[in-house]
Amino acid sequence: MMKAPVNKIIPFSNVDGPGNRTAIFFQGCPFNCLFCHNPETIHLCRSCGLCVEKCPAGALGFDERGQVVWDSAKCVQCDSCIKICPHDASPRIRWMTVEDLLGEVRRAAPYIEGITTSGGECTLHNEFLIALFTEVRKLGKSCLVDSNGSFDFERDPRVLTVSEGVMLDVKAVEKAWSEKLISHPREIVLKNLDYLLSVGKLYEVRTVIFPGRDRENEETVRYVAEHIRDNCFYKIIRYRPYGVREKYQKLLGEFETEAGYAERFALLARGLGAKKAYVV
């Protein structure tokens, strides 16, 4: 039975696509973005056990194979485990089958327009997504993929045939800035931007605006806006230090991007034809 590591399920979310949606967060991400505000979703648990002794609720332990296991009933959600984890991982994940997840979606079904899979990076679990979306669509619900763009959709477009589209992060365009910010080559992201546009499966692009990074911000926003025009939404996101690892906060900023500053880039995007650009 195919299983995937799920970090969190939010039954009602109003910020992950149109309407009210169930948002499913998978564990694991091939990027290591400096500004990631849930870095505990980046890697899978290595069962080093550091968190087990730190858990004040006795919710963590080892199984017979020495793997760290989590007891959700005992957990008090104090986050001690993810704060102590040196590997940007979390012991609080559930390995779920498509049927397990469908159970959650069925419960929320009367109240939602659809689901959005996110992460981590949900496309790491491509086969799982295809199976999940196929079933969710039978419930009459829409499926959106929230992706960092690391998956080559052109080479394997199957997930697109069972989903309404992709919400794509374009975090950086300029090469050096990109390598520093996301620790990953940007070419695949930009290729996906073009490909998803060409097949009409780009629902939304998101870019985070950093305080004081005039040049980098402008370069990214300009590139995205000129590509997408008014073909999809463009969400301009203010950087917020909440959840960002301390060492990177020092690098990127300890305060959030001011609304007025972010608004400048939305204005720029709209001026370049990306009419559906807005700040959050």
């Binding site: 009602f12 109003n14 309407g19 009367p110």
Partner: protein
């Protein structure tokens, strides 16, 4: 110092609030309406509560006049002709409202305002109509100074409905309470979304499950006071309540409670209701001489008694020995299942009781999930609600609510506090409302966490007015003091906030 002296020296009471308090005091000097010793004992223990209705009922608790009749044939007693235009219509209503009694002495039902006024509004220029309706709402807020004053709109879209929403948002008033009668087939999404936006910003209107109410009451039903379902041209005689937690204190086990303590308390409350209803109909002059009755604006046979309950959550937790509320009713299948069992038992016993003077409802009283009063503290949560402070996710909270709402034709509801981003996605809120109403939810209220006008338990207050009372200043709204009590004793404004999804977007 005498109680009367206390009242007239209280710096926080307005003149009218003093007058009402003195009237209540005067009423309490009579003891001609007597109940059994066992009733008084249960009341003393806090297991039964009469909501301070007063010992000598001289009017039904809630009255829902047939305002359409006023517009058709006028009112002889008040010397009002049927109105010919919007100004006359609004003027007639303003006058009429001042003569509709209730437990609070303010009218708890103002009519289905959009339906009543639409023919007149349509004949006027929109700007003029808006000006008139704005003055009308101001009159209601300053003259009917009590948040249990309630108006209804819907289910259909209308010019009047739209103007009332615009004004509600612009004026930010706590009075009147407002309900949209929502039916997915009759209410357009566009109108419903306008109502959602208004609700988030001003805590009103709430959404009533129109189909459910029509099935129980017929098309001519009113949502009055907090969220009471009643007949137009009728009303509710009385509303006492079982305080279920206190009812359960004398029980050794869930079985003991269901077999002994619960039926005993139900019967005591029925005894109270029967005597009171008979007194109102037979002894007091209301149904004999009041113009509302003699001119046909209400009919005695359209009244019923509202059988109230509070504190189901605490009752179930106590009976199952659950001390941690976070693991109790609402989050715990066993406790929720016991709650359903208790409600089935209450429903069956009340339905088996032949009630006097309830002709239109098969001679039966109807159940009501009472929203609590300021002095309940944390012992009895409103009706069948999950206690404030331990609410699970909104999905789980709705699922529990949907199981319990069908029991209460005379009203129940729950309230959801939303974080600011939901204002940008009213369609997401509407999807939640639609889903829950189709799943059996009766009544949905919501508001944004940072509003001034907020919904306390069922009624609206302004947080800024509560602050006035704290500074020993007067508040024009009679209900502000209840809001302060509910906040101080029951943390009623601290309900869980529906966050946007914090993990997304960065």
């Amino acid at each position: 110092m005498s109680e009367a002296l206390n009242i007239i020296q209280d710096p926080t009471l307005t003149y009218h609030q003093e007058l009402l308090a003195l009237a209540r005091l005067g009423e309490s000097t009579d003891d001609s309406l007597r109940y059994s010793d066992e009733y008084y004992e249960a009341k003393r223990k806090g297991a039964l509560c009469d909501l301070n209705e007063g010992v000598m009922p001289y009017r039904p608790r809630y009255i829902c006049p047939d305002y359409e009749l006023l517009f058709q044939k006028g009112c002889t007693f008040l010397g009002l002709e049927p109105p010919k235009d919007l100004l006359e219509a609004v003027n007639a209503l303003e006058i009429f409202y001042c003569h509709v009694p209730s437990i609070t002495s303010f009218p708890v039902y103002l009519g289905d305002l959009d339906k009543l006024l639409e023919p007149f509004v349509r004949k006027e220029d929109r700007a003029f109509a808006k000006k008139v309706l704005g003055l009308f709402l101001r009159n209601i807020d300053r003259v009917q100074t009590d948040s249990f004053v309630h108006a209804d709109i819907g289910p259909e879209d209308s010019v009047t409905g739209r103007i009332l929403l615009e004004l509600t948002e612009e004026m930010q008033l706590a009075i009147p309470n407002l309900t949209l009668k929502y039916d997915p087939e009759k209410t357009s999404d566009d109108f419903a979304l306008a109502c959602v936006r208004c609700m988030l910003k001003t805590a009103k209107p709430s959404f009533a499950n129109h189909r459910m109410f029509v099935k129980e009451w017929g098309e001519r039903y009113a949502i009055a006071s907090c969220y009471n379902g009643l007949s137009i041209g009728g009303g509710g005689y009385t509303l006492p309540r079982l305080r279920l937690y206190e009812c359960a204190l004398g029980a050794g086990s869930p079985e003991d409670f269901l077999e002994r303590e619960l039926p005993r308390h139900i019967d005591l409350q029925l005894e109270y209701m029967d005597k009171r209803v008979k007194f109102i109909v037979e002894q007091s002059s209301f149904f004999k001489t009041n113009f509302l009755v003699t001119e046909g604006f209400v009919r005695q046979e359209n009244f019923t008694g509202m059988f109230g309950v509070v504190g189901l959550a605490e009752c179930c937790n106590h009976l199952l020995g659950i001390t941690d509320k976070k693991k109790g009713f609402g989050m715990n299948e066993e406790a929720t299942a016991l709650g359903l069992k208790i409600m089935d038992a209450i429903d069956a016993r009340v339905a088996a009781h032949e009630a006097p003077y309830c002709d239109a409802y098969g001679h039966r009283y109807r159940l009501h999930a009472q929203v609590g009063i300021d002095t309940d503290g944390m012992d009895d949560s409103p009706g069948t609600r999950i206690p404030i402070g331990v609410e699970p996710t909104m999905l789980e909270q709705l699922e529990v609510n949907e199981k319990f709402h069908p029991y209460f034709p005379t009203g129940t509801g729950d309230i959801f506090k939303f974080e600011e981003t939901w204002l940008k996605t009213p369609e997401a809120v509407l999807a939640i409302i639609k889903g829950s109403l189709s799943n059996g939810l009766r009544y949905f209220s919501g508001y944004l966490e940072n509003n001034d006008v907020v919904r306390v338990t069922g009624y609206l207050v302004k947080k800024s007015e509560i602050e006035k009372l704290r500074l020993k200043k007067q508040s024009l709204n009679n209900v502000t003091v209840f809001g302060m009590g509910a906040q101080d004793g029951g943390h009623a404004l601290d309900r869980r906030v529906q966050q946007h999804d914090e993990s997304a977007g960065q």
